[in-house]
Symmetry: C2
């Protein structure tokens, strides 16, 4: 039962595209992540996924539109919806996902990582 | 499938202690709330509850300690743990709670409200 400072936790993250767990809430994890560059197209069959931008500008590409998120903006990608996050410059984001969520969703490749606590 | 700006949504909230829903994610709602003053002691029997402070300074009183949250700090109150939020000055916070969560938890009184979308 500890509080967490998002800035302090983010300062511990050095790797891009590797979400770290900062909280456990019911069946979900709160994660923090640093993003830069393009990710991969993927979807999460059974899980909605929340992105909240803490710093920078994140584009979440969907097949039919781009969702542009600036600091303090959030978007929930509904289950089953293909998406690809793109960050031209470094982005800090908070994610909320069920514990079962894999970062690459339905895709398993070299970008797939298992999230750990930070 | 719309993004939400936390600042824009918060600007629409006039009442204290009345969380508004800004997103639906799996079995939970993302809510925004403005707090000022003392709430009531309560707990949520089956649900953890996340507080993320967006503006101001929030004290979450527990029976054995106070958790002081400044901007950018979060705390998860585990299910069953009695707590009372206190905000000496106006606080803006993001909450994450299962859809079944009542703001006053195990207590039902004049502070109980049903959250609506904003």
């Amino acid at each position: 039962m500890q509080k967490a400072s998002l800035a302090e936790k983010l300062a511990l993250i050095s790797e891009y595209w590797s979400p770290k767990i900062v909280g456990e809430i019911n069946d979900s994890y709160v994660k923090l992540v640093k993003l830069k560059g393009e990710f991969v197209w993927h979807s999460h069959e059974n899980e909605d996924e929340l992105f909240l931008v803490i710093r920078g500008r994140l584009v979440i590409k969907l097949r039919d539109k781009d969702v542009v998120l600036n600091e303090g903006e959030m978007f929930i990608v509904p289950k089953g919806v293909e998406h690809m996050p793109v960050a031209d410059e470094e982005v800090h984001a908070l994610l909320l996902e069920p514990k079962t969520t894999l970062n690459t969703g339905n895709v398993r490749n070299e970008r797939t990582v298992n999230a750990e606590w930070i």
